[in-house]
Assembly symmetry: C2
Homo-oligomer: 201 residues x 2
């Protein structure tokens, strides 16, 4: 048996894991769990992943990993895409937490609402998200000054995770033009080996 | 020079790092950055931590770590409070991300608003947070069934992080009575060596 990835390809959090698997050359089987249809709330899925989110990764022995960022670390451990020193690991984790608490929260959510025609219903939150998400983009742009990638001057899972929702931020109403470092870095990520684009973006 | 912890003791995210430092017996100096007064937005602090949050941990060589959960991993690496295997590390990270994206987001925020007299201004979000936070508590209670701690049957940074805002969830309007596993686990965390209570709770 091989690794099984549960999720839906157009989900950014699923894409992160799928991109890493492909870039590391790890074979896997994709199993569709259509969260847009609520399939992540079905008892048979909750039995595998009580957290009820996608993606989840089932290992050869049946163990199921959850939380996309934790899965990225699991897969990248002992490869150059994770930290080689205690300090590099702390820096990469810092960006993974920043990504989940700011980029995914403010940018991915807003992009989802805009694309799902739910902008009006969430107007006041979108206004706040645009402000807080833009602040997060400014921080990223600032931290990229004079650098090629976020940590250790090489492509790591910090870049892979941050890239996913950042490079489509304009679909959420965010403006990337004021952030040239960020734009150049997006291009560099797109040129990494075995890169493939986010489906449906 | 010793480690320097920037923050404010009543912040749960600062408390997590301070509790771990004390429980691991690591000496440190606490430097007050009063986020309630906006001191985390001052240029001299942003020069140290561009992410602009508290806590931040300054190492002996002047390197500054940020994001509380990443700091926990940094400090606990090579101790029994982090994972001893690749799988244990993935499980601990899963809970650390769950904590930041659900417990801190839904429970800590709601508790803050209630204590700051901002309940009315955030009424519709609080309603949603109570629902989503309660679902997170239910998941935790479910995953604790038959277990003493979340990962590896010993106290780790997953427990420390999850405990912080969970054990004061009632101050945010959440009901812990339906979750006996969670309540028993809170008592076990309080009995760990060198535990001290969250200031101001």
């Amino acid at each position: 048996m091989t690794l099984r990835l549960y999720g839906i390809p157009i989900s950014g959090n699923c894409y992160k894991v799928e991109l890493l698997l492909k870039q590391l050359g790890i074979p896997y089987e994709a199993v569709l769990v259509n969260s847009r249809e609520g399939e992540n709330r079905r008892p048979e899925y909750l039995a595998k992943n009580p957290l009820g989110q996608i993606p989840a990764l089932e290992l050869e022995d049946g163990t199921v990993l959850a939380e996309s960022a934790a899965i990225l670390v699991y897969l990248a451990e002992n490869t150059p895409m994770y930290g080689q020193t205690q300090l590099e690991r702390a820096e990469i984790l810092k960006w993974l937490f920043f990504e989940q608490t700011r980029i995914a929260r403010y940018i991915a959510t807003t992009r989802f609402w805009l694309r799902a025609g739910q902008a009006e219903a969430n107007a006041s939150l979108i206004k706040q998200n645009l402000q807080l998400g833009t602040e997060a983009l400014r921080i990223m742009d600032h931290c990229l000054a004079g650098k090629t990638f976020f940590v250790g001057e090489r492509y790591t899972i910090a870049d892979l995770a941050l890239f996913t929702y950042t490079h489509v931020a304009e679909q959420g109403g965010f403006d990337l033009k004021p952030f040239p470092n960020l734009q150049a870095w997006c291009q560099r990520v797109k040129q990494t080996d075995r890169f493939f684009p986010l489906p449906g973006a």
